[in-house]
Structure formats: C-alpha cells, structure tokens
C-alpha cells in the first residue's frame, strides 16, 4: 500500500515563516547537539586515549590542537557546549510545564545567548 501524499505543516526554517529567535534556537540546539556528538565527544575520547598512550602521544595531540585547525575546532566545541548546556537547561524548565509563555521564552532565550558568550569566553580564556 502506497502512503497518500498528505499535506505536511511547513518546516520552521524556510520560506514559510519569518526567522524567529525561538525557532532558530530550537534548530541550533539540534545542530549543536549533533556537532558535540560527532566532534566534541570524540575529541574528549581522543584526549583520554592520548593521555593513557604516554607523554609522546599526549604531546603530539596537544600539538595538533595548538595548530589553527585545532584551535578553531576547540573554539567551536566550547561555543557548542556552552550553548547546548544553557539552552538545555531552558528546555528542561519547559519540560516541567513552566516558562512556556512567549515573553518568558524570549527572555530566557536572550539570557541563554548572553550566558553562552560569557561561559565560552571564560572557558576559552582558561583553555587557550
């Protein structure tokens, strides 16, 4: 049996809706989650493997991370982690049924974005 082509509600990003803070942060939460899963988490694992493989492996890993590609990756990881962590807390509050009105959703959204910049700056200051 072939499924009928029923109309779907349009995707939040695209020509049908104007960009909104809420929808952009929602899709960014997913994007940052995917990035953390495929880049940052394996990076932490690589650090651990290099650490247990001895000082030489550890130093060559740190040398890799010290190059401009490594630094860029590290900066992206720190921003993605800060955003996903803070916006994740926003989502967890929503999951309890609180703060769901539009005004609070926007206020919390801006707070998350400001917090992301501050937390990233602090972490990068320590790491780089």
């Amino acid at each position: 049996m072939k499924a009928k082509q029923r109309p779907l509600s349009p995707f939040m990003i695209g020509p049908y809706y104007k960009p909104q803070l809420t929808s952009l942060m929602s899709i960014s939460h997913r994007a940052s989650g995917v990035f953390l899963s495929v880049v940052a988490a394996p990076l932490l694992l690589w650090w651990l493997v290099a650490l247990s493989s001895g000082p030489q492996a550890y130093d060559s890993m740190l040398a890799c991370l010290g190059g401009w590609i490594g630094k860029l990756t590290l900066i992206a990881c720190v921003f993605a982690l800060s955003f996903h962590l803070l916006n994740g807390i926003r989502h967890l509050v929503w999951d309890t049924g609180r703060a769901l009105d539009i005004r609070t959703a926007y206020t919390a959204g801006w707070l998350v974005l400001i917090g992301t910049v501050i937390l990233s700056a602090v972490l990068l200051g320590v790491l780089l």
Partner: protein, 126 residues
C-alpha cells in the same frame, strides 16, 4: 473516543509498551550531564597549563576516574539518543535510516568501551 483499549489504559501503556522511556532517558541523562559538565570544567581548569604527568595523576585518583567513567557513559548515551531523534526526523529513506541508526548505536557503545578501558588503564597504572 479513546484509541486505547480499557486494559491498556488501566496499565497506562500503549501498544509500544515504552512510550516515554526514550523521552525520559534523554532528560535524565541531560540532568546528570549538567552536573558532570560542571566537574569536567573544574577538571579542565585544574589541568590547564600542566603536563602529561599531572593529567595522569589527576585521572588516576579514584574519585576522578569514577566521575570521568560516568561522564563518558552518560555523554555517549545522551548523544546516541539525540542522534537517533535527528535521524528519525530528517532521514526518510528506511534503509538509510536503519543503517545510520545502527552506526550511531554501535559507535556510541564502542566509544563508551574505549573510554572506560583507558580510564581503567590510567587508574590502575597499567
């Protein structure tokens, strides 16, 4: 009209038997990861500017080894659940979907195993 038969409603389960498990697991692991990320940030700050020997000594402490092990398991578990939802939502080809789902699960479990083995190696000084 309810779509659930009376016995299923009494048990609180639909035909899927575990409707909220994935939703709950994603959030439970998220809460745990908030705490563990706090520990990771503390660890990275303590280790910044130090060398290999200091980092090894730090991980070798039983408390830190335990935190790192739980972090690795929870992190890859949370990542696995999240990637699963992304695949379900955006990949509409059934064969590609099941292959990606398999790779996600296998990759997550492999990363967990690899992480635990290396934490143990450091903790036991092998």
């Amino acid at each position: 009209m309810s779509m659930i038969n009376p016995l299923a409603r009494a048990r609180g389960l639909g035909s899927a038997k575990s409707g909220v498990h994935h939703w709950y697991a994603q959030r439970a692991s998220a809460v745990l990861l908030i705490l563990l990320t706090g520990w990771l940030i503390f660890a990275l700050i303590s280790l910044s500017g130090t060398g290999h020997a200091e980092a090894v000594a730090f991980i070798a402490k039983p408390g830190n080894a335990a935190f790192l092990s739980v972090l690795i398991i929870t992190m890859f578990y949370h990542a696995m659940l999240g990637l699963q939802v992304v695949i379900e939502d955006y990949v509409h080809h059934p064969v590609v979907e099941i292959i990606l789902y398999f790779i996600t699960r296998a990759g997550a479990f492999l990363c967990m195993a690899l992480g635990i083995i290396h934490v143990l190696k450091l903790a036991l000084g092998a």
